[in-house]
């Protein structure tokens, strides 16, 4: 259940995360990054209230849970105003919101970028104005304060491995995919495809169809794929909603137990489905915790003496994940479910 590589990054991340939490309590932290070039830039943070905002990708359970985790940490610290902004699944909206927040004088911006490159100029601009940016899930090519990531690519590889194991190393699977246009879609798909190649070359991916992140569409698409491939052994949903759509189909066709379905995200509905013996598994990440970590780092950045423009290389907090199946899903506490 540990990430298979990037171990160093992961450890560093955990260390930073704990340090951040500790630091938040203490109120001081030597933030990462080069110190050069900041001399002469005033410590701009000596103010009464701090403004923080989270620009999400679009309304969805994951960013909603992050936002909850972030708020949990920020609320008690009474001097921080926090709000959730919606990127409407459009790069230009996210960029415009970034601009607005920068001119509003936000201390820290949490950002779930739609694209690594597209948001980079905005992040650079924020840095120039002394605003720290913490990215969630998608890294940006412009170095920034911190990056807290669910492990999409390697997580998807592990899903492929677990799925292949459950299928006995052979058979046909279908991918219920999202439309192109956002990076996590590519990472979660490519990781899965590569994982299958690496761990279970005997398994054939016979269909890769777009179901728009949507449970209903996933039902329709899988129904159709099953007509062409009645011997289909399993389906991988790039998010849990689509996986649950696959479960609905399996249930209806009486394939439960025989048909392997894996999701990705680990939302409550998926975990319950696993417990009920319907969904085979999913990649679970404690998204609340991810939000809390980001928020902890943010408080340090906001109140600390470090200037945002100083970050030449950000720290990466790679979230630990769990390939949740019936065997281990019980270990996920109620409070960790989102």
């Amino acid at each position: 259940m540990k990430p298979t590589n990037d171990r160093r990054d992961f450890l560093k991340a955990m260390a930073l995360g704990s340090a951040a939490v500790a630091g938040a309590a203490a109120g001081v932290l030597a933030a990462p990054g080069r110190e050069a070039g900041v001399i002469g830039v005033p410590a701009a943070r000596a103010q009464d209230r701090y403004k923080m905002a989270f620009i999400q990708w679009q309304p969805h359970t994951v960013p909603a849970a992050w936002s909850k985790g972030i708020e949990e940490v920020l609320k008690p610290q009474q001097v921080i105003d926090y709000e959730l902004l919606d990127g409407q699944n459009k790069v230009e909206v996210q960029v415009s919101l970034m601009d607005t927040l920068v001119s509003q004088g936000a201390s820290v911006i949490f950002l779930q970028p739609i694209d690594s490159v597209a948001l980079a100029p905005s992040i650079a601009k924020a840095k120039r104005s002394g605003v720290s940016v913490i990215t969630l899930n998608i890294d940006a090519t412009e170095p920034h304060a911190a990056h807290v990531e669910m492990n999409h690519y390697y997580g998807a590889m592990d899903i492929a491995k677990a799925m292949g194991d459950a299928m006995g190393g052979k058979g046909k699977v279908a991918i219920l995919n999202a439309p192109p246009g956002i990076i996590i879609r590519d990472q979660r798909t490519n990781g899965f495809v590569e994982g299958m190649k690496a761990h279970h070359p005997g398994i054939e991916i016979v269909a890769d169809q777009v179901a728009d992140w949507d449970r209903k569409k996933a039902q329709d698409v899988l129904n159709t794929i099953l007509a062409a491939h009645p011997d289909l052994g399993g389906a991988y949903g790039v998010n849990d909603s689509m996986a649950l759509g696959a479960v609905d189909v399996a249930k209806e066709k009486g394939l439960l137990g025989k048909f392997v379905v894996f999701g990705n995200d680990g939302e409550t509905a998926a975990l319950e489905s696993i417990e009920a013996g319907e969904l085979t598994g999913t990649q679970y990440t404690d998204v609340y915790q991810q939000g809390r970590l980001a928020a902890a780092a943010a408080t340090v950045l906001a109140t600390g003496a470090v200037n945002a423009s100083a970050f030449g290389q950000q720290s990466r907090l790679l979230m630990p994940y769990l390939i949740a199946t019936k065997d281990n899903v019980g270990t996920i506490q109620a409070s960790q479910r989102w």
Binding site: E83, D86, S96, D99, V117, A118, P121, P180, G181, D186
Partner: protein, 341 residues
């Protein structure tokens, strides 16, 4: 007369909106907000001005968002995969936009398809084509490679006009993005095209009474195709500005932009009945929408509430336009009565 009057009303409404937020929203009346408005909505204004042309010929172009995506991806591929220099890419991008727009027009003119449905079909097709040619899928490494060609990224340059004329010493002046000047240039060009050229007159005639235009010897088909081509070129310009701003293009670039553009055009007084409109209205309409969204965000109004407010403002704008039309009709009736006596 009518155009001038409703433009004045729109400008007034824009001014009132700005004044309202300047007073009520913290940090609205700052140089950086103005800068954000200019850089964040110049391409929306260009899209809206482009959209005005199909509406002027009594059509509609739902495909402009998809054209933005397509042109964006063409630029991405040419620059990152084929390393084509920027000065070659720019005209190619405009050409691609023009062709995509013209194809809409051809479908409408030669296959007699209704504009709504023709551009709905190309909306799907152009987006599909964007996926097909996506360099992000063909060469996954490029997803994290920014476009660095100075000819393209140069579009996202800011000019300190205030500094150069010395105004900055008195007040804090915004830096003007090049995209804003591009928008002004597009505005000037299209406004002259619409108001001062034979083609502009022919466009209004085609939208106002297509049969009369045809019988007057106007090549209605060619005018219609040209109107859609202009819309396509504007989408291409918008795509270039967006790519410059983001230093990349995604497959989803521009999706949904058509609805914003239509809204801005209609707020700007372009009549869906065809034949009536200017370039000034759509441009102001776009910046009005932008100012409202930025202002509400600065006020801390939750975004879901903003969606509702945007809808209400759109309703108010068309309602106001309707009121003007009614008032004009009433005036006409009185005038006609006078003439009849």
């Amino acid at each position: 007369m009518k155009i001038r009057f409703s433009s004045a009303a729109l400008l007034l409404f824009f001014a009132v909106t700005l004044a309202f937020f300047s007073v009520s929203a913290p940090r609205f009346a700052t140089a950086s907000t103005v800068e954000n408005l200019m850089s964040g909505y110049a391409f929306v204004a260009i899209l809206a001005m482009g959209q005005a042309w199909p509406i002027l010929v009594r059509g509609i172009d739902l495909s402009i968002g998809a054209i933005v995506g397509l042109v964006g991806m063409i630029v991405f591929d040419l620059s990152l995969i084929f390393s084509v220099p920027g000065y070659v890419i720019l005209p190619l991008a405009l050409l691609a936009g023009a062709l995509a727009g013209a194809l809409n027009g051809v479908l409408i003119v030669y296959l007699h398809l209704q504009p709504f449905i023709a551009t709905l079909a190309t909306l799907a097709a152009y987006r599909g084509l964007t996926y097909s040619i996506s360099g992000r899928q063909l060469v996954p490494g490029l997803t994290t490679t920014p476009i660095r060609d100075p000819w393209i990224t140069g579009i996202e340059t800011y000019f300190d006009l205030g500094g150069s004329i010395g105004l900055s010493r008195l007040i804090n002046m915004p830096w003007f993005p090049l995209s804003f000047f591009i928008m002004l240039a597009v505005f000037a060009l299209l406004q002259v095209l619409l108001l001062a050229t034979r083609f502009g007159r022919d466009t209004c005639a085609t939208g106002g009474n297509a049969e009369a235009a045809r019988l007057a010897g106007i090549r209605v088909g060619a005018v219609t195709i040209a109107a859609y081509a202009i819309s396509g070129i504007c989408a291409a310009i918008a795509a270039l500005i967006m790519v410059a701003r983001f230093t990349t293009a995604t497959e989803a670039l521009g999706s949904g932009a058509e609805l914003t553009a239509i809204a801005a055009a209609v707020i700007g007084g372009v009549s869906l009945a065809g034949g009536v409109g200017s370039m000034f209205g759509p441009a102001i309409g776009a910046f009005l929408l932008g100012a409202i969204l930025i202002g509400l965000t600065l006020q801390g109004v939750p975004q879901f509430v903003q969606q509702i407010i945007t809808g209400v403002i759109l309703l108010a704008a068309v309602g106001y336009d309707r009121l003007l039309v009614l008032r004009r009709q009433r005036k006409l009736e009185t005038a006609a009565t006078g003439a009849g006596r």
